[in-house]
Structures are given as structure tokens and as C-alpha cells.
Symmetry: C2
Subunit: 399 residues, 2 copies
């Protein structure tokens, strides 16, 4: 009876997402759909600024209030303080803030796992060129199925005496493994190494307590698992890392006070002493409330722990069933602890399969390059019948 | 009869901006109001992504097409090529890209005018700290009324042998003077100095031919004089400056190809060979079309040259009339060549006046700190009767 009630609730809850009405959607890790209330909030808020006078004291106060409310709402979801939150445009924007925030010196070392997104690799390339640092990539993917001890061991083996930062994901975007973040942070901190986390795939999935994770920088977006609008993300900066973290892209939002210089003198700048320090300038304030609306709407369907539990149950079911098909290779050999499942079908090219599935079957998933595979994203909004349809098609393809 | 027709056209044209209906609006230099068609396009485009499947091949192709169309539309307005345009979040974001793009070496010099926005000063502070460069501020404000020769002379006097870049505005945000950009560029290029232009107040005001201006970087926003949505701006990078310009905040949009590294090897990255090189990652693609709509709507009311002509005529009228009032000090002593007019009223504190005018008179303008003054923004949407109302109130205050 409990299950039945929950099923009915989910159906009506899901019905508020127009994009989910007529397709099998498995791309939450790329972008989440918007609920009607989120879509409505976008229009409402753009109109609100016009009604408040555009660039008026009232409208500018509204922009500030929206920013504050949004940092507070995000912080609440992460068990952090609003002062730890920087509003950004995307996960990648937050990763940039973190990676460029170090006062890099020639010979410093940046350690990156071999599971990171190309954006991280691009940033590292420039840090090397600009500051003469060393960058190395360590083998993580090979150890993912072996568990925490093996993961910690490969990290420790690859730390150097001058390592200043490690870049790692909380949930690997390609394989879906959840990293033991607290243990990684403690290991790295014991070596005076800052921990920079790409959290694109974990925020909106895991029940999070960021202070307990002890990571220094945690970069995420609202438009994937949180089903918020494109263009709003955030960065959590741990208190202990804040003072040393330098701002890079700079604008009036990060500046508390700037004594304008007379010619011949140097200006005196005071930075904001909270997450605003890393914010830049004007942005789409109307979207902030839409992200809050998306978060609030998700919270009408259980707690994050309950939603995560549902994600894991659905994922495990699909992983087990796919594993029974002879021509399917699952990328991970251990049961999934997130909503991402990566696999290949023998003799099929993943990128071609992705196109065929979308065009012929109305099934939306994505292909990856490393490893070369298909990736399915399972959300709490995903239904058992969606999984069954996916499994049926995979079964045909793998026969 | 011509004038009458134009007046009628403007009234119906203006009527499409809901924010202009019930206030005297003089803050275009802060933020422009949105036309109904622009507001509608925002909602339409957010809905469009949902109908295309959110993270589907169709939706992703739409994102790319929107980005391409928007670079092309912006380029067309600036007489540039689409390949010269980077889409950004704001003017300040573009200034950051430009100022951080130099392969700064210790001892290099960055020259900044004393009329620049605090954001520029903040960036310079960090460039000094990170790369050990010299930053100096030269006296421009004192020479603005003296014209081109005096402006060029103060720049030339302040260039050093190791100056690599100058940061200057096309239209000074505080005084409204239009800088002789082509001559400045030619002077600076003769000294191997890159020219970085803050164009927050010029795009949407001046008829522009950026290749003819010869500036290397030209950073602007859509949400001020173009009356586009908050959160979309752009950066023009001159062909001759492109190859040397390094990307700083980096993401998948700027990376053409990234060979993922095996542990122990280094990745090979190929950057995009157009303005995308400096773009980062996911953003609010739905807003791009809204900016194009705003630009298209403005273009239904004359050409940019005609709109600029109207701005100058209105500005000159107000400047002349304010100049007749005994207690008013105009910041500039020469007739305005832009829509910005700065002034003070004797014995009145500008920031207090701003509040009073908004609260009591429904007149929206802003106060500045340097110089300490009020600033009025006059747009082609501004009406003669708005100016008369402003003048009447100023006349009372100055009596």
C-alpha cells in the first residue's frame, strides 16, 4: 500500500514536467527537464524586474535579495552556510574558480584523475602554461571497482611533495562510481593538498553534508539533477580554504570596497568575505528563483535520502538486468551507487546507437568517448516502465 | 510632417516596453527595459528546449544553432565577422577574458585610465599579484574636454617600454565622452600595445564598425542599451590579436579536441579557432534569441545611425538646458556625443538625490562616486516630455 501511494504520487509529480510526457528520458546527467512551476517562475521573474523598474533601487534590491535567498537555499541543501556559496553559471565555471584560485608557483603540482571532464584538462593545460606548474593524471578508473582502499592508495601513490591540489569528481561522470570523498579529503589534507571536486553528477543525487565531506572546493550546477534552469550553478568553498583562495575573473559583485586610484597611486581593494568574492557581475537574476522553485518542487517528493534510495534501487535493477544479457558489457562490475550506468553492446558503436535509439525508439541517453560506451541517467523521476522499455530495446539489440 | 510621423512611430514603438509605461526612465546605462517581444521570446525558448527533448540531439543542435545565430547577429551590428565574437555573460566577463588573455611576464606593464569601472581595477590587482606585472593609472578624466589630441598625448606620455595592454572605455561610463578609439588603437599599436575596450556604454548607442576601430578586444553586454535580457554579452577579438590571446576560464565550448591522457602522458588540446575559444560551458541558451529579438526590435525604429542621432539631439538639448540653471554643475563642458550626462546640484548629495527622485518623482537615474555626481542615460526610447519633466524637477531642486 505504501508503494502504491508513492507510485501514484510520482505519476502526478512527474506529470508537471512537460518534456517527460512523450519520451523515455535518460539524460539527467546532461540536463534535467523543467517542471511547469519552474518554467512559470522564469517568466514571472523576468516580468518582475520590469514591474520593479528595471534598474531601480527596488529592482536592484530584488536582485540582491534573490541572490542571497538562492545562496541560502543551495547551502541548506548541502548542509553548508550561505556564506560558503558562490553563485556561478555552471559546474565548469565553478571548477575554473577553484583551479585558478591557487597562488600557483613554478614547480607546484596539480594532480588530476583520469576520469575528469575535458574542461578540467583544458584548465590544467593553461595553468601549466601560465604558471609553470606540473600537471599529472593518475589512474583512477582502473581502481574504481576495487573500493575505497584501492582508490586511496592510487591517490597517495601519485601525490608529490609539491602537490597543491587534486581535481576529482564526487560521482564519476563516465562510470557513476561515488568517490569516498571524506577519506580522500582527509588523506589529501594530511599532505597539505587542496581538494577540488567536480560535483556535476552528485548535487541533486546524493544526500550531502559538505562540511562533513571536508572537500575544499565543490563545484556544481542546477540544470542537471536538480532540474533547474540552464545557466545557474554554484561553488562551495570550505571555510578553511577561503582566505587563501584568490579571485580570478573579477567584477563588482566580488569587490566590497574599491578606493579608486589617483594617477600615480595604487588602488586599495577589499574583497567580499563570503562566496560573493568569486562572483563577477550582472547575470540572469530571474533564473535564481527558478532554481529555488525546482529544488522546492523536488522536495515535495520525499527527502533527498528517499530520492537517492529510489535512484539506487532503480539503477541496481537495471544494472542487474542488463548484466544478464550476453552481449552487454557493463562498465562497472559492482552494483551502482548512483544514477549513472555505463555499458556497451557488442559489435555496436555507442555514438551510432545513441542516434538510433533517439530517432527510432524515442529513448534519450548519451554516448561517451572515455570509455567508449553508452550512459544512462536514472533520476528519482525515472519510472520502472521506462527502465523496462530501455531493457527491452537493449535486449533486442543484444540478441 | 517627417518629425510628426517619427513621433507617432516612437510612441507605439515605446508602448511595447511595459517598464516605460509608468516612470521616467534614465537608467539605460545600468540596464535597459525589455520589450514584450523580448519577454515573450524568453518564455518561448525555455519551452522550446523542453519540447525538443531537453538533452536530446535535437535540443543540443538547437543550442548550437542559437549560439551561431547570435554571434552572427551581434557581428552584423558591429560590422565584424561571427568568428570574431565570443558570447559572454556580461561586459565584465568579456573584460576578464581580455585582460587575462595576455601571457603576462614579470615586469610587463598594464596601463589603465582613471575613468574605468571598479571591476577592471580589481582584475588588474590580481594580475599584479599573480604575474608580477606593473599596473598604473593615467589621468584621462582631466583631458576629456580637451579633445583628441590631448587624449592621445596623455596616453602616449604614460606608455612605458614594457606596456603590453591599455584598458580604456569607448564611452566613459561616468562622463559620457566618446573616446577617439581608432586613433588610440593606432597610437598603441605603434608601441606594440594591445587595446582592451570596455564597451558597456557604446554598444547599442554608437553606429559601430569594429574592424575600422582597430581595437584588439571590445567587451560589451546586451542588457543595457540593446535592451536585451540580463546575462548575455559578448566580446569581439580582432583577428590580429586572436592567436596570441590565451583562454583562461575554460570549458568544453572552447575546446575543439582533447585527447584524453593516459596516466603518465600529457593531453593534447586543440582550441576552437574562433570566438568560441573563450566560451566556457552550459549557459542560458534560451536568452540568446531574446537578445536577437531585442536587436531586431530596435532595428524596426530607424538605423543605428538614426537612433544615435536622436540620442545626441536629446542629450544636447538637456545638457544645454541644465547648463542654464545656476546651481547645476555639468561634469562635461563640451556638448554630449553620447546618451550619458553627468551633473551635480549645488549643496545636494547625489546619492540622496537619486533616492528622492525615485521615491518622490518616479524619476530613475543613478549616482556615481567618481566623480560624485548624478548620471542620466538618454536612449532613443527617451521622449522629449521625459526630459522636460526631469528638467522641471532639476530646476526646482536647483532654485
Amino acid at each position: 500500500m505504501e508503494l502504491k501511494t508513492q507510485t501514484i504520487d510520482l505519476a502526478s509529480h512527474r506529470a508537471q514536467f512537460p518534456a517527460l510526457a512523450d519520451r523515455y528520458y535518460f539524460n539527467y546527467g546532461g540536463q534535467g527537464p523543467l517542471a511547469n512551476s519552474t518554467l512559470n517562475k522564469i517568466s514571472e521573474n523576468f516580468g518582475k524586474i520590469e514591474s520593479l523598474g528595471v534598474f531601480s533601487r527596488a529592482a536592484n534590491a530584488w536582485d540582491v535579495a534573490e541572490s542571497n535567498l538562492t545562496r541560502a537555499t543551495i547551502a541548506d541543501q548541502l548542509k553548508a552556510q550561505a556564506s560558503n556559496i558562490t553563485l556561478t553559471e555552471s559546474t565548469t565555471a565553478g571548477c575554473n574558480i577553484a583551479l585558478w584560485s591557487v597562488d600557483w608557483q613554478p614547480g607546484d603540482h596539480l594532480l588530476i584523475s583520469d576520469c575528469e571532464h575535458p574542461g578540467i584538462i583544458g584548465i590544467a593545460d593553461q595553468l601549466k602554461q601560465r604558471f609553470g606548474i606540473e600537471v599529472s593524471f593518475f589512474s583512477l578508473q582502473a581502481y574504481l571497482d576495487q573500493g575505497t582502499d584501492a582508490i586511496l592508495a592510487t591517490i597517495e601513490q601519485n601525490l608529490r611533495s609539491h602537490t597543491r591540489m587534486i581535481a576529482i569528481s564526487h560521482i564519476c561522470w563516465n562510470t557513476g562510481h561515488v568517490m569516498p570523498l571524506k577519506q580522500i579529503s582527509q588523506l589529501c589534507h594530511a599532505h597539505d593538498v587542496l581538494v577540488m571536486v567536480d560535483a556535476a553528477q552528485s548535487v541533486g543525487v546524493l544526500p550531502l553534508d559538505l562540511p562533513d565531506c571536508e572537500a575544499d572546493f565543490y563545484a556544481f550546477t542546477g540544470h542537471k539533477w536538480w532540474c533547474g534552469p540552464l545557466g545557474v550553478g554554484g561553488l562551495y568553498v570550505r571555510d578553511q580554504a577561503f582566505d587563501q583562495a584568490l579571485p580570478t575573473y573579477i567584477g563588482w559583485r566580488g569587490i566590497k570596497d574599491c578606493q579608486l586610484p589617483e594617477p600615480g597611486t595604487q588602488p586599495e581593494i577589499t574583497w567580499q568575505q563570503d562566496g560573493q568574492k568569486f562572483e563577477i557581475a550582472s547575470t540572469s537574476y530571474p533564473l535564481y528563483g527558478a532554481l529555488r522553485e525546482a529544488i522546492a518542487y523536488a522536495n515535495t517528493w520525499g527527502s533527498q535520502a528517499q530520492r537517492y534510495d529510489r535512484i539506487c534501487k532503480l539503477s541496481k535493477w537495471l544494472w542487474q538486468e542488463l548484466g544478464k544479457l550476453p552481449k552487454i558489457n557493463l562498465v562497472r562490475q559492482t552494483p551502482p551507487d548512483s544514477g549513472l550506468i555505463a555499458f556497451t553492446i557488442k559489435e555496436k558503436i555507442p555514438s551510432q546507437l545513441m542516434t538510433e535509439l533517439e530517432e527510432k525508439e524515442n529513448i534519450l541517453l548519451r554516448s561517451l568517448n572515455n570509455p567508449d560506451c553508452l550512459r544512462v541517467s536514472i533520476h528519482y523521476l525515472t519510472t520502472q516502465s521506462e527502465l523496462e522499455q530501455l531493457l527491452a530495446i537493449c535486449s533486442e539489440l543484444a540478441s
